[in-house]
């Protein structure tokens, strides 16, 4: 703490410059906190939080009426998460609820204080909010690994219950005048939901209120910034908690072949409850007749783009034959069954790939310029959802392409343009590598648009290099055949 104090003092000095009303307290702990906290420029008038727990990850939507209580126009709204939790938050985006078409909102992790227990996303409005004006923000995000099976071990044919812990008070870096939290559960079988004292509730009612599969915590009256009231719900969720620790996706563009090749390498794990006993093949086989809900992952469905062809499905052993590909003019569905059903904490890694005609994905944009539009990732589409910790997409462009530009609405953490060497390459293919964290299968339609220049000379690199090699062999043959290596006296040619 002693080491941190100078930074804390510096921080408080900066904030007091920005906001003369800020109280620069000098005692150590408080100073760290006040430096770490964002300036109190806003006030939440009314906040409604929806937590959707119908899938294997939590999707939260916070609709909040925000008022600028500062004397100057402000455009930076902070949104807090606990340290540790922020690493599992994905797809955070903000919108103007009343004008959904309004763009220009950005959300990024703010580096305020590396030692604080709270970290913030900074949401920047497209235009500053004037004093005393209001905006209705709609903040959405997904929280990965937020459901934990309880009990953690079950029998093979048991129902699974999962627990979701959260704060009954919505996370906020500002004073909130009125708020409530609504939970949408997939079932009415809810053995536990933490009850709060009716005195906390603004209307003095029983807390939470239950209506079918919906639970409502609140409404609550005025609460200071950072107020927390830990609660949890436990409900039936006899479905796999499919979690991908890593997804690598390669997209290879071939101008000569008129083909685009996709390959995805998946590392899956099922976060569901572990088996209490050994896996029993007999019970598993018996249950196949009834096909009851189970926490085991048995099938993966890949709805591919129409026109996809030549699919393959392999793992470390080799080809996996339990797959089906239904392809016609309207659909191209790849249905895979893993080599074994994935029970809780079991892992499976595999690769799938397919081809498609390039014409549907690539357009000429005049001259040597081309535009490519592909999905950032595809992966399985499951009713219960799939969460990805890390998605690495590599777009391998033809050899010699330059001036690569891209755009996608998915937030990225890393990007690079390097060279990739494969069959018949001399200079290496230009490869764009993009990394995204905390992605869910709902985002599988997000497109990646890439433009690149493919100069005329680069197009003939492959045949010309083969031509040169073969021509050299012919020339050497001609030279060798013209050499006179006979022994004996040379006969003079007259």
């Amino acid at each position: 703490m002693r080491l941190l104090l100078p930074w804390a003092l510096l921080g408080s000095a900066v904030f007091s410059l920005a906001d003369p009303s800020a109280n620069a307290a000098q005692d150590s702990q408080k100073t760290v906190d006040s430096a770490a906290a964002p300036p109190q420029h806003f006030r939440n008038i009314n906040l409604v939080r929806n937590i959707n727990l119908e899938k294997s990850y939590a999707r939260e939507t916070i609709n909040v009426v925000v008022e600028n209580i500062d004397s100057k126009p402000q455009s930076e709204y902070y949104f807090p998460f606990e340290r540790g939790q922020i690493k599992r938050i994905g797809g955070l985006e903000a919108k103007d609820k009343k004008q959904p078409e309004r763009t220009g909102f950005t959300a990024e992790i703010a580096a305020l204080d590396q030692t604080s227990a709270t970290e913030y996303y900074k949401i920047t409005f497209p235009a500053a909010l004037k004093p005393n004006e209001q905006i209705t923000l709609s903040i959405t995000y997904v929280s990965l690994q937020s459901l934990d099976p309880l009990p953690a071990k079950i029998e093979q044919s048991d129902k699974q219950y999962v627990r979701h812990g959260f704060s009954a008070y919505a996370p906020s870096a500002y004073t909130t005048l009125k708020q409530k939290t609504k939970l949408k559960l997939p079932t009415t079988d809810v053995p536990d939901a933490v009850k709060l004292a009716a005195s906390l509730n603004a209307e003095g009612k029983e807390d939470p209120q239950r209506q079918g599969t919906t639970f409502t915590y609140g409404p609550y009256g005025e609460l200071p910034a950072g107020a927390v009231e830990e609660v949890s719900v436990r409900y039936e969720f006899t479905k796999p908690l499919t979690h991908s620790t890593r997804l690598e996706r390669d997209i290879e563009v071939s101008h000569w072949g008129g083909n685009i090749a996709f390959e995805e390498r998946h590392w899956l794990t099922n976060r569901a409850a572990e088996l209490k006993n050994q896996f029993s093949r007999v019970i598993h086989q018996q249950l196949q007749y009834y096909n009851p809900p189970t926490s085991a992952l048995k099938e993966l469905k890949f709805p591919l783009a129409v026109g996809s062809m030549d699919p393959y499905f392999t793992d470390d052993i080799g080809n996996v034959s339990t797959s089906r590909f239904r392809s016609n003019a309207r659909e191209a569905n790849l249905e895979l069954k893993p080599r074994y059903p994935l029970f809780g904490k079991w892992n499976y890694s595999f690769r799938v790939g397919w081809n498609a005609d390039l014409a549907k994905y690539l357009r000429g944009a005049g001259g040597d310029k081309f535009v490519l539009k592909v999905p950032f990732f595809e992966g399985p589409k499951q009713a219960e959802g799939v969460a990805y910790e890390k998605v690495i997409t590599r777009v391998i462009l033809p050899e010699g392409s330059t001036n690569v530009e891209y755009t996608t609405s998915l937030p990225l953490v890393d990007e690079s343009v390097t060279k990739h060497y494969t069959f018949m390459d001399t200079a290496g293919r230009t490869m764009l590598e993009l990394t995204a964290l905390n992605v869910v299968d709902d985002q599988r339609d997000i497109q990646l648009v890439i433009s690149y220049d493919y100069p005329f000379a680069a197009r003939f690199r492959k045949p010309i290099s083969i031509f040169a090699a073969v021509a050299a062999v012919f020339a050497i043959t001609a030279v060798v055949r013209s050499l006179d290596v006979s022994i004996g006296r040379k006969t003079k040619s007259s």
């Binding site: 000429g364 045949p463 031509f467 012919f474």
Partner: protein, 78 residues
Amino acid sequence: MSALQELWEASASQPFQPTISKDSQFTVGAVLLLLALICTGLFGLNSSFKSLPIYALPASLAFGVGSVYMICAVGVYV
């Protein structure tokens, strides 16, 4: 909407068309490779400097382009 997205929309009328369609890659590759083989054979009969431009040059050209198409036709899209 970003500039690249607009570029994509604007070039809707120019989908990429390969010189040789996927269906005819094998035919084109096979014909060119056969041509390369014949020319190589003729060059082999009289491998002098004089026959270099007559036989060796077309053979190398046919082999260069033909092998690229044949490799594509068998599924390795280079």
